[in-house]
Amino acid sequence: MADAAVLAPPRIRPRLSRDEWLMGGGLCVLALYLAITLLVPLVIMLAKSMQDRDGVFVSLANFIKYFTNPALTGAIGHSLWVSALATLIVIALAFGYAYALTRGCIPFKGFFRLVAMAPLLAPSLLSAIALIYLFGNQGALKGWLFGESIYGPIGIVLGSVFWTFPHALIILITALSTADARLYEASESLGASRWRTFATVTLPGARYGLISAIFVVFTLVITDFGVPKVIGGQFNMLATDIYKQVVGQQNFQMGAVVSLILLLPAVVAFFVERWAQSRQSSAVSSRAVPYHTKPRPVRDLALLGLVSLVALVILGILGMAAFASLAKLWPYDLSLTLRHYDFNTADGGSWTAYGNSIEMAFYTAVLGSLVVFSGAYLVEKTRIAKPLRTATHLLALIPMAVPGMVLGLAYIFFFNAPGNPLNFLYGSMAILVLATIAHFYTVSHLTALTALKQLDPEFESVSASLKTPFYRTAWRVTAPMCLPAILDIAIYFFVNAMTTVSAVVFLYSPATTLASVAVLNMDDAGDTAPAAAMAMLIVLTAGAVRLLHAGSSRWLHQRTQAWRGC
């Protein structure tokens, strides 16, 4: 029997519980969902870029055709420098603004914060339309451009700065508000000057936030379609080229090629941004002492001047759009009227489109938060199938790197393929909802994960020891405790579904036109005032829903403060 001791004991194969089967199954369903609404369409688009019009494999022929056509490749340079310039301006302004809000002693911080967030409620098209009213051929402030035309890079940069400003601001406020007072005290006690403290403490503390903001803004600008479409004139960019190839010339293969080129900077930006994010969160130790601002009159006055100016410009652009939608006949008859809101006379817009948008945004919010939260729950809580969990999590991160135009085009390729059993979705409301959920999946997924990670990881252990199935605990404990995050996700989906143009512009049908697309089409047809009116409707709706959200969040907070212990 001496051999018995040498033999390795049998490995224990854990028997799976019903919970684990169910969660594993759920994870498979989720992975399948993300594969269908994201991965497969993208892969098919990749394949399409190497096919000719008849679907014959032509290797890199399309790419060669693209790169030997200077009219097309010019867009690469255009997109890069315009995005870089817009990013530079946004980051400089947003950093000053964020610095004023977090470190300055200025009045009306709440108001300034609110104003800065306003562009989030508008489609990116709105800023372009307002800029045309301000600086266009009949613009009120045309002279300010010294004869330069707004239709082109100037307009694109200005319009992009407006709508990406709050995105940069949110990141920079977060980066600047996690300051450790101990470092400032140390710097001060060592006799460092204020500039030296700023350069050695403030800037390094916010550097990952800055990197993150730079890449987020760069990606937003380079992948945006609305602003260059409306105000770009003959100045071609990658995003507008995709649209021209697909909608204008019906050259889907070339559209796929441009999409892949547009995908590159977005993917690079994605990885840099993820890296910066992970560094930012670990930069602050739990022992940090919160920093309190002390008034310094000269600095504060300068900061107040800056934020006032920026706020004024934001309000000016919004106000211009509002006024444009109300003026009878710009610039000849400036008396106010509501007739531009009667879209029946305009080409491409209707109240039906507005209704469709509300419907689409509602479904996206409800379904999106359900899918995203369940998905994040399964990724975070399933105890088996680690490779599948990792894969699903990575799938959920992809949308961040995929421009909306690219996703929309990929959807055409996939859902419109004759053999696809899901073909019936093409042209329906459902495909718009699916595309929008996929487009905005990543941020929602990360929000849900963060909320879930804040809960005690032993809830599930306790629940299993009490022989309670996981879904009961998820329903009675996990979801209620994450309700604020779920509401945030829902509102994020709703507002973005109202304002987005890029993914859905390829996917709507005459029966499912959307308000944001109607803005684009009316502007295209020369009905600029109704376009401004529709854009304003979107702003008002998104704003109203935001208010509703703020109200319900406050109500929820009061109702639950007994157990939140505050």
């Binding site: 390795a8 224990i12 005690d456 252990s461 020891s465 009490l466 022989k467 404990v477 209620p480 212990g565």
Partner: protein, 361 residues
């Protein structure tokens, strides 16, 4: 002897190349209170998670009440668990937390209500059923977590460092509470702790662990007075470790003195480590009426309230340093000052010998 309630046999848990548990076997008997004690990373939590099924072992078996549960998921096992973090459901009231496991068993509402009230009284919080966990103190929350685990009358209670998050005073108080409750209910209990005082005061038996292995299993008295290894000797309580030489069976050379000791098992001429607890060093001042005595000089006196820490060296001790615990009353009688010379006596049965060359883990 009765059959064990829980039989753990040859449990091994590997995480990649790292062996967190290495061939661990223990028997637990019905109604016992056992503590797994050891420094962090010793494998005590891994062992508990294997027993609960939360993280199942790589090899080895676990039997509970005669059934092989080695591969079963937690929900198919019979245990209640309490965590250091309490893991109370923050959005449910105390009563609903306690009722959580009962509601799943399709019991009538009235029966659940009565059982909850009974448990609330058991943990001394009869009026707190409608409060939320965040409205209770840490100690109260941990009692609620205990009641929630006990509500379904499990056969085995697992406590994962239940007192570590609490203030020192609450901790001592709750220690007695939990022990009393466990005795009253007679429930077989395993508690994990890194606090040796907690283990000694609460456990019927202590399992001392180190680096994935069991160093010693025994009652608190055995562990304290007959440590099986140098690691246990050092880990539990305070201990003097003095290099010595075994001159003949039952006698060691320590500095310039020779002391009798009862331990054998070493060949004469072996270098050993003599382990002596500070409270076993008896200070007799100028008088020297004992066998096993020697003289040393007081280096330092540190007042601790009920006793003094005495640092001794020189005299017959030579280079060696010895710490002794001198009761305050005795210190007053002797009136010792630094640099005083004093006689010291160590009873032969309180000297334990360990092989030299042990590396501290």
């Amino acid at each position: 002897m009765t059959t064990p309630y829980l039989r753990v046999r040859n449990l091994t848990k590997r995480f990649g190349d790292f062996t967190a548990l290495d061939d661990v076997s223990i028997d637990l008997y019905q109604g016992e209170f056992v503590c797994f004690l050891g420094p962090s990373g010793c494998g005590k939590t891994t062992l508990l998670r294997a027993i609960s099924g939360l993280d199942i072992q790589t090899h080895g078996t676990v039997e509970q009440n005669g059934h092989d549960i080695s591969a079963l998921p937690p929900a198919k096992r019979d245990f209640g668990i309490v965590f250091q973090s309490y893991a109370l459901f923050q959005n449910l009231t105390v009563a609903r937390n306690i009722a959580y496991g009962l509601e799943n068993r399709k019991q009538p509402k009235e029966a659940i209500r009565r059982r909850v009230q009974e448990l609330l009284e058991l943990i001394g919080l009869p009026a707190s059923g409608n409060k939320y966990p965040s409205q209770l103190s840490g100690g109260q929350q941990q009692r609620v977590a205990l009641a929630r685990a006990l509500a379904v009358s499990p056969g085995l209670l697992l406590l994962d460092e239940p007192l570590s998050a609490l203030d020192a005073k609450v901790r001592v108080y709750l220690r007695d509470e939990i022990k009393a409750l466990q005795r009253r209910l007679g429930i077989t209990t395993i508690m994990i702790t890194h606090d040796q005082e907690e283990a000694i005061s609460m456990a019927d038996r202590i399992v001392v662990m180190r680096a994935g292995k069991i160093e010693q299993i025994g009652t608190p008295l055995e562990i304290y007075h007959q440590p099986a290894s140098l690691f246990v000797a050092e880990f539990i309580g305070a201990m003097n470790l003095l290099p010595a030489l075994l001159v003949q069976q039952g006698e060691i050379q320590l500095g310039q003195t020779r002391l009798a000791c009862t331990v054998n098992g070493f060949a004469p001429g072996t270098a050993v480590q003599a382990a002596v607890r500070p409270e076993d060093v008896v200070c007799t001042g100028r008088t020297n009426g004992h066998a096993n005595s020697f003289r040393a000089e007081v280096r330092d006196l540190e007042f601790m309230g009920p006793f003094f820490w005495l640092s001794l060296s020189g005299g017959e001790l030579g280079e060696h340093r010895l710490r002794a615990q001198l009761p305050s009353q005795r210190a007053r009688e002797l009136d010792l000052r630094p640099r005083d010379s004093t006689h010291l006596h160590i009873p032969a049965e309180h000297i334990r010998l360990f092989p030299e060359g042990y590396s501290h883990g």
